[in-house]
């Protein structure tokens, strides 16, 4: 209850300020939108289904791209953690590659795949793959050896050992990296969609700019923030809470 009160207090000040400034008409509405204009744009967008379609398209790209990142990132991370050769070669490359903004992969993607869905997925994968890889690698190193020894001792072998022991045991160590990977994938996707015009939330944002429709620009931005918040709350917060229930104090993960 107390929390709701502080929320209301905290947000009412900037919103009130916004309303006052909009009422005073200091700047024209195509530069400084009114709050009710943004609400109307949100309403209209959902009413004519264009927001629903954009959300569906963007989310589908996220699920595919992020899914690929998680699978390959884990495989790559495990490989680097268990092979001295890979560690010395690919290991050093990872950090330098991660400093490259993922949108830099778009020209290559367009040349390789053309203006297709594959190109945008490529950008999403390149944006999040490395953070998953790095966290899986450090997670695997921090993982106490006792779990896999106990697993082998109880008869687990090969893939079984990986699925039932190594993977669940390393989850607390990699959850931060998975979360970070999601955030990176989300940013890569939106920036990709903004440049590369084919549906999705990023394209809606650019369409707002093209039509000089400031209300729509703000509405889409609100939508992007809301979606990020929702996924974090529904997926990752739940995951973290469940891990804490099981492990007690979750082992500190360094990403």
């Amino acid at each position: 209850m107390k929390r709701t009160v502080s929320y209301v207090l905290f947000y009412s000040v900037p919103i009130a300020l916004w309303v006052i400034l909009a009422k005073l008409r200091v700047w024209p509405p195509y530069i400084f939108p009114t709050p009710w204009g943004v609400v109307e744009a949100l309403w209209a967008g959902f009413a004519d289904h264009s927001f629903w379609i954009a959300i569906a398209v963007s989310m589908r790209r996220m699920l595919v791209g992020y899914g690929v990142s998680v699978v390959f990132g884990m495989i790559l991370g495990l490989g680097i953690a268990s092979s001295k050769f890979l560690e010395e070669t690919v290991g050093g490359l990872l950090v330098s590659l991660q400093s490259l903004p993922s949108i830099c992969w778009l020209p290559i993607a367009v040349l390789w795949f053309g203006l297709t869905e594959k190109a945008i997925l490529f950008v999403v994968v390149m944006g999040s793959l490395l953070s998953v890889t790095i966290s899986m690698e450090t997670g695997r190193r921090q993982l106490p050896k006792i779990y896999s020894m106990a697993g082998r001792n109880l008869g687990a072998k090969g893939l079984q050992l990986f699925l039932y022991v190594t993977l669940p045991a390393s989850l607390p160590y990699i959850v931060t990296g998975l979360k970070q990977g999601w955030a990176f994938a989300w940013r890569s996707l939106i920036s990709g969609e903004m440049i590369f015009v084919s549906l999705g939330l990023g394209q809606l944002l650019m369409m707002g700019r093209d039509l000089n429709d400031m209300s729509q620009v703000i509405a889409v931005m609100v939508l992007i923030i809301a979606l990020g918040y929702l996924v974090d709350g529904l997926v990752f917060k739940t995951l973290e809470r469940r891990l804490e229930e099981r492990w007690g104090l979750v082992p500190a993960a360094t990403a």
Binding site: M149, A150, G151, G155, Y164, P168, L171, G248
Partner: protein, 308 residues
């Protein structure tokens, strides 16, 4: 050495016949001469046989550390064998070899006369640090070995129930490991090992981290479970009194390289108790033997410090 006149001729106290049905008998095992194996043919194939086991680590280009040096040991079916020695004598390593988690440099480990290759659920090791899985409930931990074997659901559930009952943890079956006390975790590890129904149970200083009361309780429970299930147990400890309390036989290893120094048959009547006079005096005799090795290990440590 101080004489212990009462230890070998102690007479049973009134009202405690079950404790001391016989007088304490402490002597190097006769008729079980491990040094001449396999020339001597035993009455039946031993459950576990270590034949001439050597294990060496290469420390650097020229240096080699010999951890285990020509170990010969036999454990009969249903026997409770305790292995004691100073820290660093390779007693844990010995268990890892039997479990198949590590490979010896030469020699062989035989189970029922067949050489061990890799791990197998016929011998389960209870680690010193337990290695319980924190992401699984108590019941799922106990079930783990059976799940790996893809045993039928109903059978799994029945066995989980049975072994959790055996260690008195049935009401905690849905708890996670971090919610349990040290002694309870120890019992989960025991149930998890027993549930795969191994012929041989390997225990690596399992009670070292527990308080004295909990340890006493678990000694009683382990002795009872051993009697009920008839498993062969190899129990490693640094605590001689614990070894005498539990074992049919106590094997003493030397400090680096680990060799069998001596062997004692403990013929005290069961159930035994840690505070029994006979347990204490028997332990004292073994401890005198062990002290020499402990001193060697301490010296090695000091030398190491001095050389740095």
């Amino acid at each position: 050495m101080t004489p212990t006149p009462n230890s070998r001729t102690a007479t049973p106290e009134a009202g405690s016949e079950h404790r001391l049905a016989r007088t304490a008998l402490l002597h190097p095992c006769e008729g079980n001469d491990f040094r001449v194996f396999p020339a001597r043919t035993p009455a039946s194939t031993p459950k576990v046989a270590l034949n001439d086991i050597c294990l060496a680590y290469s420390v650097n280009a020229k240096g080699k550390l010999i951890a285990l040096d020509h170990i010969n040991l036999q454990v009969q079916r249903g026997e409770f064998l305790c292995v004691v020695g100073p820290s660093g004598c390779g007693k844990s390593t010995l268990l890892h070899l039997v479990a198949g988690l590590q490979r010896q440099t030469s020699g062989e480990v035989l189970i029922d006369g067949r050489a061990v290759v890799g791990t197998g659920t016929d011998r389960i090791l209870i680690f010193q640090e337990l290695g319980l899985f924190p992401w699984l409930t108590v019941a799922q931990n106990v079930e783990f070995g059976m799940r790996m074997k893809a045993a039928p659901m109903l059978e799994r559930a029945a066995k989980v129930d049975r072994y959790l009952r055996l260690v008195h943890l049935r009401q905690f079956k849905d708890s996670y490991i971090h919610q349990l006390s040290g002694g309870m975790r120890q019992r989960v590890a025991l149930a998890r090992a027993l549930a795969t129904e191994p012929d041989v149970l390997l225990m690596d200083e399992p009670f070292a981290a527990l308080d004295a009361q909990t340890r006493d309780l678990l000694h009683d429970e382990l002795e009872r479970i051993w009697a009920e299930t008839g498993r062969t147990i190899i129990f490693v400890t640094h605590n001689v009194r614990e070894a005498v309390r539990l074992g049919d036989r106590v094997v003493l290893l030397t400090f680096r390289p680990g060799k069998v120094k001596s062997e004692y048959c403990i013929e005290l009547a069961r159930p035994r108790h840690l505070e029994d006079l006979e347990v204490a005096s028997t332990a004292r005799d073994i401890l005198n033997d062990l002290r020499e090795e402990i001193n060697k290990s301490l010296e090695a440590e000091y030398d190491h410090e001095a050389n740095r």
